[in-house]
Amino acid sequence: MGAAQEMKGELKTRMKETMTEAQIARADAIMKGWFAFNDYALLIEHQCAEHAEVIGRKAADMIAAEVGQSRDLIDGRNAEFGRILGNTIRTFQMTLPYHHQGNDALMKEQLKWMDYAQQLGRTAEMVQFDVDSMKEIFEERRYWIEETGDISLALDAVTTPTCFRDLTVADGIEFNADRTEISYVSPYKRVLEKGWLRNIWTGLTEQHIHEQWTIPRFAGYQEHFQVRFEVDPWDETTRLVRIRVMPQVA
């Protein structure tokens, strides 16, 4: 008997010993549901991969026309753009155990590290590490603010990076007219709650993330720019995060 078959036999025996018939039936139904999703997702992915180059090109041309651009917005990187489309459509198929969104992976990566920091009692230290790692880039932006007198460039610097844009891609962001204020719905709730059901990230809440990560990080970043970031306190009802940039108080 092969090792895989042996493994199968052992597991079936163990399941019969430790689970009721109803539990086995439920586990079996979940597994079959997953297989159905996975077969479909793999098929779509395979088809997308086969035509990635063409899909990428045609979609890019269509979008360029929609937004009134005549130049190549993807710089000839057709297959790469096609892969993003395929991956996104695949992500949208993942509706169990919750609707997965475009920011799913980045959020999970963040939650893992935030949870770890919390467990170790090193959150403040990790926030400081994050702040320090942005020093050179943000101080360069300070020069731009000094040169132009435009303090919105500080908010631009923290909201332009892919890290921020990818994190808020599901529900979007909103700037005010002169781009000195941004608001967005905290992105973590749905993933966090599913994690709790799996007994992970149990030390985290959106409020904790807002107060222990978001606010202190912005407080650290503002020193690099020599501006002031004002972050609204946590609102459990709206879950809206609002940040304003203003001149530093002398």
């Binding site: 092969g2 090792a3 895989a4 199968k8 597991l11 079936k12 399941m15 586990a27 597994m31 779509i44 991969a49 063409v54 899909i55 979609a59 269509m62 979008i63 929609e66 651009q69 917005l73 993807i74 710089d75 790469e80 753009f81 993003i84 489309l85 991956n87 996104t88 459509i89 992500t91 949208f92 997965h100 969104q101 475009g102 992976a105 980045l106 990566e109 963040q110 893992k112 590290w113 949870d115 770890y116 590490f129 994050d130 790692s133 050179e136 631009d156 990076p161 892919t162 890290c163 921020f164 844009r165 990818d166 994190l167 891609v169 599901a170 529900d171 979007g172 781009r179 799996r198 992970i200």
Partner: protein
């Protein structure tokens, strides 16, 4: 070191040496910003429309009757707009779809290495996957389908998004992909960040131990290829425990 990564490492950032260079970079950035901000606005005004049109186009090309995005047109449109924006970010390097995720990982890998926390973090990572991977290991065992273990490793958005730049190849018993970190690490080094990291270190210190930990939970064996500086290719073969 591969030629592509080597070239990036060798090229020092010289754009901030003089005021003239600093201003040139600033002006280039402000022009980029003006362009992408305008584009963002165009997208935001039509995100649902664009999302619907593109999903319909893709569905037609794949021979599907429905657009496959289940009424989430605006959300799909936002992903497209964000991707277009990422593709416009060419300075100081061509940004790719996995840029945000890679940087998040690099930041904390660097922290863990500096603080001597790597082993503990990997244990925490592996442990956090125990519930999910334990279930998948059960599926592999109850069906005798070993490929489900490799599927469990590669199905999550975390993996798929990470390898988005270059793609990956998956057969029932083997996974292959190019290490995704090279270009971003190289730029980081020039900025004095992530200086403890190389792709080889990530492979040996993070990737291999994590994959081994996952395999243990699932009750299978993952054979991970040793680091190859020339090809930067990583392969993982799954087999039953002997």
């Amino acid at each position: 070191m591969s030629a592509e990564t080597g070239e990036l490492f060798a090229r020092k950032d010289t754009m901030f040496e003089t005021d003239e260079k600093k201003n040139a970079f600033m002006n280039a950035w402000l022009a980029y910003k003006e362009l992408t901000d305008a584009q963002d606005k165009e997208f935001a005004a039509k995100e649902a429309e664009i999302g619907h049109a593109v999903a319909k186009l893709v569905a037609e090309m794949l021979g599907k009757d429905t657009p496959m995005i289940e009424g989430r047109e605006a959300e799909f449109g936002r992903v497209l707009g964000n991707s277009f924006r990422t593709f416009q970010t060419l300075v100081p390097y061509h940004h790719q779809g996995n840029d945000g995720l890679i940087k998040e990982q690099l930041k904390w890998y660097e922290f863990a290495m500096r603080e001597g926390l790597v082993k503990k973090v990997i244990e925490h990572d592996v442990e956090s996957m125990r519930n999910i991977l334990g279930e998948r290991g059960g599926w592999a065992a109850s069906t005798g389908r070993l490929e489900l273990a490799l599927d469990a490793l590669t199905t999550p958005t975390c993996f798929r998004d990470l390898v988005l730049g270059e793609g990956f190849k998956l057969t029932p018993t083997r996974l292959e992909y190019k290490s995704p970190y090279g270009r971003v690490i190289a730029k980081g080094h020039q900025r004095g960040i992530w200086t403890n990291l190389t792709e080889e270190r990530i492979h040996n210190i993070w990737t291999i131990p994590r994959y081994k930990g996952y395999a243990d939970i699932m009750g299978v064996h993952f054979e991970v290829s040793p680091w190859d500086e020339e090809t930067r290719m990583i392969s993982v073969d799954v087999s039953a425990l002997s």
